[in-house]
């Protein structure tokens, strides 16, 4: 159906108005704020300071630690969740008896509130807790995962991966079901083994979807706040402090809104750059897949 201009305008208007009020306005506000010294606790010194906030940010070790931690967090979360998710999708594809039960229960981690997921894993990782017991049971050494600065960040990232493995698995399994069975069967008849079939047929054919999965997983893990907040609150020290936690501290604990806005803007730029790289890869691979 060809729709009139008037219909399109009227239909898009409500959404556009909402975007303007709750999205475009705040973005503009952040951009305005990041050039100011704007404190909520000491209002007398508030004024425009040019790019001072960015100069301060560039010179703060704690900011660079947080930026690096964010990248490590996203990297670990993606590197754990995507391969395991694809593995589970392959398991679903085998259609063994009970696969429908597996599919139903697989939903559980991703419908739990991330904050609650963080709380329950904090309990499980307590010294003498469930994980210690489990590791002792299989004869492994015990380390205080969340209290140790070298393991805290990675541990929370693995918990983040735990929550989103089902997302990768379910979406990948659905994509695999749409693949032409004849092609895969013909390949198998030609003597291609299971591993070759996976690497040279199945995975290349679903590559656009995998790129989208990677993009969504990147954006979601990069902005993750809840689990880190409840499990370590950025600690010990600043060893698991990512950019969202760092930003939260400056905005809502120290009330330095101008500086926090500069951090937020930098974060948006970082996310856009990394996302663009992933989208490029997605577009480049579309030709391959078809």
């Amino acid at each position: 159906m060809r729709t009139s201009k008037r219909y399109t305008t009227v239909a898009l208007l409500p959404a556009m108005l909402l975007f303007a009020v709750v999205l475009v306005f705040p973005t503009g506000y952040v951009i305005n704020l990041m050039f100011q010294r704007y404190s909520l606790t000491d209002v007398t010194g508030n004024r425009y300071v040019g790019v001072d906030n960015f100069a301060r940010l560039a010179g703060e070790d704690r900011f660079w630690t947080a930026a690096l931690n964010s990248i490590v967090f996203s990297g670990v979360s993606m590197a754990v969740s995507i391969p395991i998710g694809i593995g589970i999708a392959l398991l679903i594809r085998r259609r063994l008896r009970g696969t429908s039960v597996l599919r139903a229960l697989l939903i559980v981690p991703m419908v739990l509130a991330p904050l609650v997921v963080g709380a329950v894993f904090r309990f499980m990782f307590e010294s003498g807790g469930f994980i210690d017991w489990l590791l002792g049971f299989v004869g492994l050494d015990v380390t205080p995962f969340l209290a140790n600065p070298t393991t805290a960040l990675v541990t929370v990232a693995v918990v983040d991966a735990w929550q989103w493995v089902p997302f990768v698995a379910i979406v990948t399994a659905a994509a695999m079901e749409t693949l032409p069975r004849e092609v895969l069967e013909a390949a198998r008849l030609d003597g291609v083994n299971a591993r070759q079939e996976l690497w040279h047929f199945t995975l290349p054919m679903i590559r656009p979807l995998l790129a989208l999965v990677a993009l969504i997983r990147f954006m979601d893990s990069f902005r993750e706040f809840d689990k880190i907040f409840i499990m370590t609150n950025g600690g010990p020290g600043t060893s698991s402090e990512t950019l969202p936690i760092y930003l939260y501290r400056y905005a809502f604990q120290y009330y330095e809104m101008g500086y926090a806005a500069a951090v937020g803007f930098t974060m948006l730029v970082l996310i856009s750059v990394i996302s663009t790289v992933i989208v490029r890869w997605m577009r480049a691979s579309q030709g391959v897949a078809q």
């Binding site: 704020l33 609650v116 994509a175």
Partner: protein
């Protein structure tokens, strides 16, 4: 030579056995944290840490009754009101906008869609800052209107993106036939197109409901004690020196039940929704 035909079934049987072991393992890893939560919520404080866990001991209901008498139900009701209103508004608005976009032939369309998707990558921590300052000024802190408005926009991008995909699948001839029968464009939308995307509406509604129900950060910043959803009560159980795990998990179990039930029931619509309509 003779061994060859007989080895195959053995190998297939072995690989099947490995498959079943993996399936059991995956299910255990997925559900044990939820079961553990329930177990601790039903255990008196003295035994929270006793290992191995006795999964079948008699339940202790003290934590649940304490949580229920502390006004936790009020925050659950808040979660419910906020999630339902947000879901209805988002599904309605994104159906209208998604349909218009699916039928639009303009070079601005691609840009608009990417702008829409781009709003999804905005971290809550960044937008919460100006929204908090704005909400303070117009006195919408700790009100249903304030938090619901934020949630509608927070989910609208995703909703439009999804509904746009579903409307693309509605064949043009069906809509043309509606026009021939004398319906207006709006008439075609309400009476013809909308009825053909019911699975899409369910998928969108499910995802929006779950995302809204589980959201913590905006609620943490924008609500206090009148409009606060259940997620905001969880950090309160973490004291400076000790955590009341029993009560915290009792509250958590009550809080996670609606999305778990909802999610398992409508799971077949979820896959398509989660991928933004990229797979059937």
């Amino acid at each position: 030579m003779a061994a060859r035909p007989s080895r195959r079934p053995v190998r297939a049987g072995l690989s099947r056995a490995v498959g079943y072991v993996l399936m059991v393992l995956v299910v255990l890893v997925a559900v044990v944290p939820l079961l553990l939560m329930l177990r601790v919520a039903l255990t008196p404080a003295a035994d929270w840490r006793s290992m191995p866990i006795d999964w079948f001991r008699a339940p202790f209901t003290g934590s649940f009754s304490q949580v229920l008498s502390d006004g936790f139900l009020g925050t659950l009701l808040n979660s419910f009101i906020i999630a339902v209103v947000t879901t209805v508004a988002v599904v309605l608005l994104s159906a209208i906008a998604g349909h218009a976009l699916a039928r639009m032939r303009s070079r601005h369309k691609e840009n608009f869609l990417f702008f829409v998707l781009g709003t999804r990558m905005g971290p809550a921590v960044v937008f919460a800052l100006p929204l908090y300052l704005l909400a303070t000024k117009v006195q919408l802190v700790d009100t249903y209107v304030g938090i619901i408005l934020v949630y509608i926009v927070y989910n609208l991008a995703f909703g439009i993106w999804m509904m746009h995909g579903f409307f693309l699948d509605v064949p043009a001839e069906v809509e043309e036939a509606g026009l021939m029968d004398g319906l207006s464009e709006w008439g075609v939308f309400w009476r013809v197109s909308l009825r053909m995307v019911v699975p899409g509406l369910i998928a969108t509604a499910t995802l929006v409901f779950i995302l809204t129900w589980n959201e913590f950060f905006y609620a943490f910043v924008l609500t206090r004690e009148d409009a606060n959803p259940f997620t905001t009560t969880i950090p309160g159980y973490f004291g400076a020196f000790q955590v009341d795990w029993g009560q915290m998990f009792a509250a958590s179990v009550l809080g996670v039940l609606p999305p778990v039930i909802f999610g398992v029931l409508v799971r077949r619509w979820l896959a398509r929704g989660l991928s933004g309509g990229l797979v059937e």
